[in-house]
Amino acid sequence: MNSLQVNVEFGGGAELLFDNKKTVTISLPEKKEKWTIEHLLIWIKDNLLKERQEMFLQGNSVRPGILVLVNDTDWELMNTINYIIQPNDRILFISTLHGG
């Protein structure tokens, strides 16, 4: 079976919602459709984010104030939730809601 390996990272305080884990390597199971960030967010919600989901997610996207970078590039330049995840992508979620 061909799973899709991605590196998910959390920063800026977002890691506090994930047991203080700053990096997680995950294997997304094979499925008919291509994996997009929208699907990844659902996967994260079901598998990594146990509580306080409203601090991270809103609707089918991230909560305003959470920034997303795909391989160091702003996801707003990459079609945001519709970006099709590639093997070994590095997806960073960074919170601007903590502190200051």
Binding site: G11, G12, G13, L16, Q53, E54, M55, L57, Q58, G59, N60, S61, R63, P64, G65, L67, L69, D72, T73, D74, E76, L77, N79, T80, I81, N82, L92, I94, T96, L97, H98, G99, G100
Partner: protein
Amino acid sequence: MTCSHHAVPFRMVGKNIWFGLSLRDKKKWDKCNKCKSNVPVIILRHKDVYCKECFLSGAAHKFKAFIGKNHLVKKNDFVLVCFRSGHSSVSLLHMLRSALDLQTPKKLKLRPIVIYIAKATCEPQFLKEIEDVVCSFNFPLYFISFNQYISNGQELDKVLFANFRQMLENYPQINSFKRTNNPTATQTLERIYEQQLLTEVAKHLNCSIVFVPDISLNVATNLLTSISLGRGAYLPLDTGICDTRDPQITIVRPLRHFDDKELAFYNVYNKLKLVVSPNEIKKFNNTSVQDLIDTFVSNLQLNYPATITTVVRTGDKLALDKTVLKSKACNLCKAPLLNNTSEELNSATATDFSRWISAQLQIFKKDESFNEFEIKQRELYCYACSKIIEFVEK
């Protein structure tokens, strides 16, 4: 999705609507706005795209230009830098260190001293992280507890520590900052006292300038809050480029033209370690005027980011009449008292009048004409503070 208790800023979400991104825009974003050749990595204010090199050099330039253009510091001045949890302070320290270490004539010449004001009870681990981060930039660091300052601020020697462990040992058990039953007044007082703390510590450490890590969102929020609290006349001090209400110390917000996205990306690209307080997550509570305006401004930033820029730029241009600065200062916020020359009934007079009426209703208060009462009020406090003081007195 469960409903949250907080009023969260809204934005349109959906498969095809996202910051109005369309295929047409995508094409426009092929090349960096500045060098016109590299592939962009960031889009700012929903429209300007930059490659990594141009983004980082642009940020450094914006910072240095702000300090240089406004003639804020004299050569080798000591500058007190206020450190807070989150992105902005780490960016600020990095920008300072980079500008100080330049080998060109544009090299910045000032001597930063960092201070962390511990507001809530702080875990030693959290304070240790601050120490590590500030030390990594090679700046001296002091800790002070807000409560200790409130209860024992006259003797700064006893409440200012170069080592956080000493501060924790001396931590007061009681919360000496008396909260009023009005959240707006409490937050206003906190802000005023924090500013006084910074001014006093700056004098104590021979600094002439204080750098506060407020970003555009904070400046816009403070500006609109000041207006709502009747401090319109003091906008140039409360939210302008320089706060000069103290004759010796100038308070400056050198990150006022940066937004949180810029600084978050700046920190990611420079691989900077953040210090984040688990207790300080933005909640959008809406219980005070400040919180309401914070939510309002956050929504604005999300949907109309250019508006924030306009608000901050407007704040930049406001100036206070220089002669006003010489007049007597308000007992609370230390802003100069403005003479009420107008004969008309303005809101300050109206507030005084309602206070006078309620004072007259208390039988033990001795008779005092409204005119006398008003003059007394105006001699002690500015209009906004006279309303805050009411809650303190209660």
